[in-house]
Amino acid sequence: MSERVVVDPITRIEGHLRIEAQMEGNRIAQAYSAGTMVRGIEIILQGRDPRDAWAFAQRICGVCTLVHGLASIRSVENALNYTIPPNAQLIRNLMNGAQYVHDHVMHFYHLHALDWVDVVSALNADPAATSTLAQSLSSYPKSSPGYFADMKKKLKDFVEAGQLGIFAQGYWGHPAYKLPPEANLMAVSHYLEALTWQRDVAKLHAIFGGKNPHPNFLVGGVACPIDLNSDSAINAKRLAQVQEIINKMNTFVEQVYIPDLLAIAGFYKDWGARGEGLGNFLTYGDFPEKGMDDPASFLIPGGAILNRDLSTIHEVDMNAAEEIQEQVAHSYYDYSNGKDGSLHPYDGETNLNYSGPTPPYDQLDVDQSYSWLKSPRWKGHAMEVGPLARVLMLYANGHDQTKELVHMTLNKLDVPVEALFSTLGRTAARGLETKVIGDMMQTWFNNLVANIKAGDTKTFNEKLWEPETWPAQAKGVGFMEAPRGGLAHWIVIEDQKIKNYQAVVPSTWNAGPRDQSGQPGAYEAALQDNHTLHDPQQPIEILRTIHSFDPCIACAVHVTDPNGEELIQVKVR
């Protein structure tokens, strides 16, 4: 008996995602990932001032709220050979680093935790035993029996009032939930603590970028000047605030996030044996010490890993026409060279063509186009991007702290190294890289202070600000590692305006549909790896693996140059 299980909307993500799973008995045989919303931001970008592009591109996504802004200004700077001052580079690193820590903690507690944590079970917890548990894991001060008794009462009153709000219709009591009541109560308490904590972390963006979500960026540097004698610039008070935020950030990561992650993972070791997916991993690289044109100084190296083989790191060339390409065989777009064509982003073209079922519909026709996402490929390979790809890349490159963290985690959980390649491994990698980035925040901050001490307060290079200084034609790629994975924007500038703009983003790599040869995307492949559904009416297993990728679907859907005109050739660094 063959059945199609449909989950739409997939909630606790960014954007609009639909999963259809073709069942064989209670096992997922084929999985299909569909992005169900399109806006056309890259079409909107055409003809605009490249210096304005970051603001448009940033609105691709408000969760990973700054990453598209950063990728966009880097694309313009790359196209124009526009160097930025070291302080601007450090401030951008601090902003992106804060985004990682903020995003990953919120993902764990607010988007992913309810797949593993049974809120209703927490009502049966013994506060004293919860306190003992919490104190055995961490030195976090909010861990007394009284604290957990208050939390339990709060939860109990909430549930008994009869309005479950955001917890309504959850799969509570599902046998897949394995945590004891005390661990559930601890996690629910930290769900609330993390909501409070994240507000403070977001302030770092307000200090350097004026607000969060959607802080400001600037081609050529950063907009916030540094002046220790001004009350309207980055001064000693502002720097002290930043230091305080970094402290708060790292305290929570070390005392709450990582201990909770390891404790919860310990009850779900079987999830270290499913959800692997592709076994191919891609990073673009990021967090330069010296500048984007010096990849050797990147904290996270770029490269590709194929078939789990960490001994060979393949070089990735963002500009090579035959390397990164996008396909539309199962996407709601047409290519002028046919549905089976492949195009590098510089040559990208797109025509919106919705050819799916007329709404309201119950099921997609997966033999035809079924998603607003395209299928990006690297040298024809489907690739996974994101925290797991980065941790593997750091590990393969011999990054000491990463190796230490990975070994600690495997030892603590008592799982084999293969468990990295799984749903659990993906969720664990996100936590481990949060620790790495959190520590680096302090280094970048120290370097910024040292620069200021040495008399360097420059934050903006005005040399190429005026469009009259630009060549008639230019093109470039701005790449970065966003919290959800490798992100790149390709821009073509002609006569001071945007001629073509294209983003290939983390969730397009991960959530894209099958390509012309039938090769599934990362979500699809992961769901096809060893997933059985206990109850098709409550497909919590699908949510666990999909959430382990931290989907960001507004990001993933994009469209570009509807004309498909031939693009100019410009030498790119």
């Binding site: 449909v6 989950v7 739409d8 909307p9 909630t11 606790r12 993500i13 609009h16 169900t36 919303m37 806006r39 056309g40 079409i43 909107i44 001032d49 210096r51 304005d52 609105r59 996504c61 408000g62 969760v63 709220t65 607010h110 208050d150 009462k153 009153d157 909430f158 009032a161 009869g162 309005q163 479950l164 709000g165 955001i166 917890f167 309504a168 219709q169 959850g170 609330l192 977001a202 302030k203 307000a206 970028g209 004026g210 607000k211 969060n212 907009a223 916030c224 540094i226 001004s230 009350d231 309207s232 610039a233 709601y332 919106l352 799916g356 007329t358 709404p359 309201p360 119950d362 507004a554």
Partner: protein, 387 residues
């Protein structure tokens, strides 16, 4: 204990003291710029209400508005969703997915038909129903059926309020704001599976549903929660301007409240980023600041618990709470007239001995006041003609 538990009872049950409760009410009153005498009124209203149901729908959006909601510090998002409202449908935060999520929406509609608040973020495409679907249903139909049972609609963010970035030229998907969609398509019978809608919908006119626009890209966190608090407390729509925005937050231009305004009045401008003027906090007008034509509370409420706002961090205002700000001609281009004219005006005025409010402020106060009242766009050109 039951669903009929009031907010007052709920708060007391959570161990919130009377004193703490009144403090919350005072904070709410101050947020809404109400006199202290209103605190008991707020307290009485909140104590009587059980947590009202809120259905939050996301269409063509980036989730920035939801992220902004979670940054609200007063009221906090956790206070809001656990103590004040019942957030019964919200893709980013709710536990349930798929059919269970849609069941939660149906249940909330059924139990609270005619009473729930519908919050929308994101625009709605009319170019093709397939441009954006949830649970296989087009955004338009889901909005029409859910709006039918709402007491009021809050359009959060510039996309829901004015069409936002999807609506920017050339608007590839035919994106509309909530208000425009309901005006243009309100007579359409939604093609829907909803039994609740079918049972209740016979006499509903969605065209006349009250709509509060809370624009911004995203809106300021406490403005989102403040507007909800107003509706929950008074059961009424706050006073709105012609664009449907609450006067309490969108009544004054950013320029009028900007701490850099004195420099503008003196004719002191940053000429480029990171120059001496920029470092000293001089006016960003010449760098393209849209503060003079943008109505929002950024300069007073600020962002992230009062930490800063874009101008304070050295970047010109983008004008993100105004309709079609994406198509305003460039974020780094000074508005309306060349900056030289502005400088000249300022210099001339100073030379003429005008003590305060030179240039945009005092040269032509009457015109500006009229324009503010009508919430028209005020360009430097208009002002100078009058001045």
């Amino acid at each position: 204990m039951s669903k009929d538990q009031t907010i007052g009872e709920a708060l007391r049950a959570r161990g919130v003291s009377r004193r703490g409760f009144l403090k919350f009410c005072a904070a709410t009153a101050s947020m809404m710029a109400l006199p202290p005498s209103m605190v008991p009124v707020i307290a009485a209203a909140l104590e009587k209400a059980s947590r009202p149901s809120v259905i939050w729908m996301s269409f063509q959006e980036c989730t920035g508005c939801t992220e902004s909601l979670t940054r609200s510090h007063s009221p906090t998002v956790e206070g809001l969703i656990f103590d004040t409202i019942s957030l019964d449908y919200h893709h980013t935060l709710q536990a349930a997915s798929g059919a269970a999520a849609e069941a939660a929406r149906e249940a909330a509609m059924e139990e609270n038909w005619g009473k729930y608040i519908l919050v929308v973020d994101g625009s709605i495409p009319v170019g093709d129903p397939g441009y954006s679907t949830i649970a296989g249903i087009s955004n338009m139909d889901m909005l029409l059926e859910t709006a039918a049972g709402a007491a009021a609609i809050v359009s959060v963010g510039s996309c829901a309020a004015f069409g936002g970035i999807p609506h920017a030229d050339p608007n590839p998907t035919g994106a509309l704001s909530v208000r425009d969609l309901l005006q243009q398509y309100g007579d359409r019978k939604p093609d829907t599976h909803s039994a609740v809608y079918t049972a209740h919908s016979t006499d509903v006119d969605v065209k006349n549903k009250p709509i509060i626009n809370v624009p911004g890209c995203p809106p300021i966190p406490v403005v989102i929660t403040g507007v909800l608090a107003h509706f929950l407390t008074f059961g009424t729509i706050p006073e709105l301007d012609e664009l449907g925005r609450p006067m309490a937050y969108y009544g004054k231009s950013i320029h009028d409240r900007c701490y850099r305004r004195p420099y503008y009045d003196k004719g002191l401008f940053a000429e480029t980023f990171d120059d001496e003027g920029a470092k000293k906090g001089w006016c960003l007008y010449k760098l393209g600041c849209k503060g003079p034509t943008t109505y929002n509370a950024c300069a007073t409420t600020k962002w992230n618990e009062g930490t800063s706002f874009p101008i304070e961090a050295g970047h010109p205002c983008l004008g993100c709470s105004e309709p079609d700000f994406w198509d305003g001609g460039g974020f780094y281009k000074a508005i309306s007239t060349s900056t030289e004219d502005i400088s000249r005006t300022a210099v001339y005025a100073i030379g003429a001995g005008a003590a305060a409010g030179v240039a945009l402020g005092a040269l032509n106060r009457a015109k500006k006041t009229r324009a503010v009242k009508a919430h028209q766009k005020v360009g430097i050109d208009d002002l100078e003609k009058d001045g």
